[in-house]
């Protein structure tokens, strides 16, 4: 029994017939071919699959595609705007917040959410905010710095406006 869903992903609306058991991450990766969102555990523990659903960071391996019907989804591919990197993306680049890069899309989405909720976080708050995201390479320190750097960039941008 297939189900038809309509989801807006990175600004483009898609209509697809899907199996009810299809996970959102499978929909994103296998149906839409947006492979920037990764799978590290499939059990909601690593955060590699984090995307934004209606503005909320969600582990897309814990949500069914059917549940995203009618939603707006942003994946890592949709974060840069008009060819300009999102401040979190450039923060990660400048502060060496990634090594193998596998956890990175999820880390970046989770970090963007942290700053959305708290534009001026302490290191401690950032570390708390990343509790659902595992990285085996970086030891997290540069990720914390990357997020701090992004926070500064975002603040100076909003002041400039």
């Amino acid at each position: 029994m297939k189900k038809t869903i309509s989801v807006t992903v990175n600004g483009v609306t898609h209509q697809n017939e899907i199996e009810p058991r299809l996970l959102l991450v499978q929909y994103i990766r296998d149906v839409l071919n947006l492979t920037g969102t990764h799978v590290g555990c499939e059990t909601s523990l690593c955060g590699a699959c984090t995307v934004m659903v209606d503005g909320q960071a969600v582990k897309s391996c814990t949500m069914l595609a059917a549940q995203a019907d009618g939603s707006t989804v942003t994946t890592i591919e949709g974060l840069a705007q008009g060819g300009e990197l999102h401040p979190v993306q450039s923060g990660f680049w400048e502060h060496h917040g990634l090594q193998c890069g596998y956890c990175t899309p999820g880390m970046i989405m989770a970090s963007a959410q942290i700053l959305q909720r708290n534009p001026d976080p302490t290191d401690e708050e950032i570390r708390h905010g990343l509790e659902g995201n595992l990285c085996r390479c970086t030891g997290y320190q540069n990720i914390v710095q990357a997020v701090q750097c992004a926070a500064k960039k975002m603040k100076s941008k909003s002041v400039a406006r």
Binding site: C46, H96, G101, L134
Partner: protein, 776 residues
Amino acid sequence: MAEKTVGKPIKRTEDPRLIQGLAHYVDDIRLPDTLHAVFLRSIYAHARIKSIDTTAAQKLPGVVAVYTGKDVAKIGPVPCAAALPDLKVPDHRALASTKVYFVGHPVAVVVAESKSAARDAVDLIEVDYQELPVALDEEKAADAKSPVIHEQFGTNVAYKLTAGEGDIEAALKSADQVIKQRILHKRLAPIAMETRGVLARYYPGEQELTLWTSTQIPHLCRTQVAIMLGMPENKLRLITPEVGGGFGSKLNVYAEEALMGWISMQLNRPVKWIEGRRENMQATIHGRGQTGYIEIGFKKDGTLTGLRYNVFADMGSYFQLLTPAIPTLTGLMLSGCYKIPAIQINVTGVFTNKMSTDAYRGAGRPEATYVVERALDLVAAELKKDPVEVRRKNFPQPNEFPFKTATGLFYDSGNYQGALDKALKMADYTKLRQDQQTARKEGRLMGIGVSTYVEICALGPSAAMPAGGWESATVRVEPTGKVTVLTGASPHGQGEETSFAQIAADELGVGVNDVTVIHGDTAIVQYGIGTFGSRGLAVGGTAVYLAIQKLKDKAGKIAAHLLQVDASTISFAEGKFTSSAAAGKQITIQEVTLAAHVAKSLPEDMEPGLAATSFFEPKNFTFPFGTHIAVVEINKETGEIDFQRYVAVDDCGKQINPMLVEGQIHGGIVQSMGQALYEEVVYDDQGQLITGTLMDYALPKAIMIPHLELGSTETPSPVNPLGAKGVGEAGTIGATPAIVSAIVDALAPYGVRHLDMPLKPEVLWQIINKKSAGAA
């Protein structure tokens, strides 16, 4: 003229694709008509397979094929490259056929149009097992009374090995005192965030097979898979796309790699297998796994006289690529950064009903460092001396390098005092000890741990390696002046695309962005060894450097020809050739390159083109070192550990990109913290894997980790022209003993001198509460 970049923390060139989700790991590669493979794995640790019924699975819609052990008998054994005397090597096949030896042992593979169909079909396979008694603990399994895993050997002892120099008996006898300590190095899971994965595509017309696989060793893997499949190596192309971490777990050749190739050849369709996380915990190599006994002899003044380490090393049930060789690295590094006149290691390698152990970040060396550092702490505690003093007492002096150890190594260069002094200063050690006095008076459990380590890197001279220790590079200047570097080292997060480009850019006087570094495709890159053993830069980077010297030599001759001067008068700097014989005249590398390619005017007998290849064979290993200091306070109520400081001073020789160096050290230290405090692969007494998910296996999270304060000293290595030593494993080697030492130090008032990892709050709480109850 491009600015020099070597030694500067420049941003990585690989990052733009990674931060935008535009990189391609194996599972991101999509080929039309791809089939999906899912494995049925053993649910028992030891059992005889009485029968397998795949009928129902085969009938399921979407299923294309189901294979069991007897179907794939033609595939050759999974290779082990370690050669040791009298080594018992089990016949390790792609799928089990008569017996299963560990939970996760592959028994059958289903190939279907979709992954979900394959998964459903796996559930329909019926295997009739006859359970057998298990052998799990490496020490007990070595006993003659233990159930035997490989019946043909009549024992679980895979090998015994003794190594070391000096008269150990006399050395221990000459000591004023000898301390003995049993010490455990628990099994760990490497857990690269990207699990393993393979995509295979056979081209029947060309009779060529392409394998995309997440590996650290593309060329070695190609050779071995070609042998397993009995196909010509030059008909097999192996590509490692983006690799999401390895830590040694992908320094291997796995059954699944050959199997996917074989299946694609049977079915003439692409086939993909992506390892699930549970599978990864069960069937990707584990690390460590040693139970050892230390004996350390010393004089009253703290001078060490000898060290013996008798160790039972857990092999798991089969050998993977390097399994039995790992404890030999432990033996090599048992001198630590100290003068120990006599050293002996006695290894008993033991089969157990578990997944194979193999190289996990550090690979045998963290075990050695941990043994030596724990031993030094025990000596200090016994003599009531400051642990720093005992270390200093036994250091070789900087002028004693190359320093020969009683394990047969020559340490290339070092200044152990320098790194120690810097770390002590950064941490303000004297003040810390005073604070500790105050804390103790107030009843707080504060501890300070110091570890001074040396490690063996840049693996290594081929004579000491199982399958070549050199590395290759080809450097080409294209007609437009852009530079292409082909490296046999195949990175998976180390940033070699950037650091190698820095070397090439500086040497050729071009910008980093004018250089492209290509790796991980055996059809493009000349043979290479791979990235592991902290060798990428020190061996692979040196090959790049040396290839460029050859290339510049040729370019210089062309420049001389074009400038009409003698080649001996030519010099090269900042991208330009000049001649001492023709003041004011110059010619750029780009002009020379163009001339080399259009080939209208070249020196007589010179071949056109501008490319050079180097296969760099290091004459020795390199020996980076450093000092790590951990300061902790233990919460008496909960047993939880609060890091107050973590200071690390590492010396990895010359640094090409300090930002990448720091990143490697951060990551290494945090993996160490995982080992010291949280991580442990646990099998129950039936051999069931208890830590089968990331819920049960505790990886460090951001919130568990303190801010790390890093410093460095720079003692160049004489082994390679870059002066680089390697840094990939330093953190994992140096940090574990410092952390354990700090915790033991905090608990010293309870009479604690040693504890085995992982030091979970529960363990500490019990010590604190049992002892205080006793005292009350």
